[in-house]
Amino acid sequence: MHIPAATPQHKWLHQLVGQWTMQSDDPQHPMGGIEEVRHLGELWIIGEGQTAMPDGTPGALRVTIGYDPEKGKFVGHWVGSMMANQFVYEGDLDAAGKILTLNTEGPTWEEGQSGLARYRDIYEIVSDTERLLRSEMQKADGSWTEFMRVTYKRVPPDEIVEPGRSKQNGKH
């Protein structure tokens, strides 16, 4: 079987590999946690997130991101223990190579609306040790509203929690 070689886009994703703390600073939806990002071969990265929801309930998140050269698009997938629907990603990297915008759709939560809305998750590399995730939903009037902003900080190599142990230690 012929295995495709990793492209620059796949290699871009590799910088996300590692252990990260996550912190949302939204006072209404404070959320903290930890995310382990690992390789699945050279073509995919997988992020396993453990969070504590505002009421303390543990949540588990799984994000998968790759790049499809045929489509010329980053592709991926997001599921969380708190939602029964999956989010299928397709998106692009900006010209500066710092901001990956992944488009998707899901149930709207806008008051008075029903059905599906467009969403985008915007992954921004701030530095080697910090990144941002901003989640936006498009409202019925066409405008975009940010509903979540999470700061990720890379866990220094000497502070990495053993895989497995982090599973019980979702709250960071």
Binding site: L40, G41, D55
Partner: protein, 158 residues
């Protein structure tokens, strides 16, 4: 935040949780391939399962990830499949048969006969008994018929 409660469709997926070994036979064109490996299936909360597979004997140390859940609003099983040997992401949508034994997952994927474009595939998960399950993969041919090209038997080890 209130989490959606697991439905019977989610509970159905829980029977896949555990560690499995598999033996697989596939046909691509004139060639036949045999492969063995392992599959480790875990829950992600009550609504999702994640299966991590290895293919140590496939000629390339492959690793795979399959996620499966049930989208209550759509009334469909949904999921995804990625593997280290492919840059294409497979997105599933499927249904359980009336006997509750066979989950047929449909996905669009690249043709492998050198003709550009995509075609439809089925991954059919069948629970034979508590310790045995089958996965049959079918591709839709240009005349509309479905052709099985892979059959994998999984045996539970824990």
């Amino acid at each position: 935040m209130e989490f959606p409660a697991a439905q019977k469709e989610h509970q159905w997926l829980q029977q896949l949780i555990g560690d499995w070994t598999y033996e697989s036979a596939s046909t691509m064109g004139e060639q036949e391939f045999k492969m063995t490996g392992t599959d480790s299936v875990r829950s992600l909360g009550d609504l999702w399962i994640v299966a991590n597979g290895t293919m140590p004997s496939g000629g390339a140390d492959g690793v795979t990830q399959m996620t499966l859940g049930f989208d209550v609003k759509r009334g469909k099983y949904v999921g995804s499949w990625v593997g280290s040997m492919m840059d294409y992401q497979w997105i599933y949508e499927g249904e359980l048969d009336p006997t509750g034994k066979i989950l047929t997952l449909s996905a669009e994927g690249p043709r492998w006969d050198d003709i550009p474009g995509t075609t439809m595939y089925h991954d059919i998960v069948e629970m034979v008994d508590d310790k045995t399950r089958l996965l049959r993969a079918e591709v839709r041919q240009d005349d509309g018929t479905w052709k099985e090209f892979m059959r994998t038997t999984y045996t539970r080890t824990s």
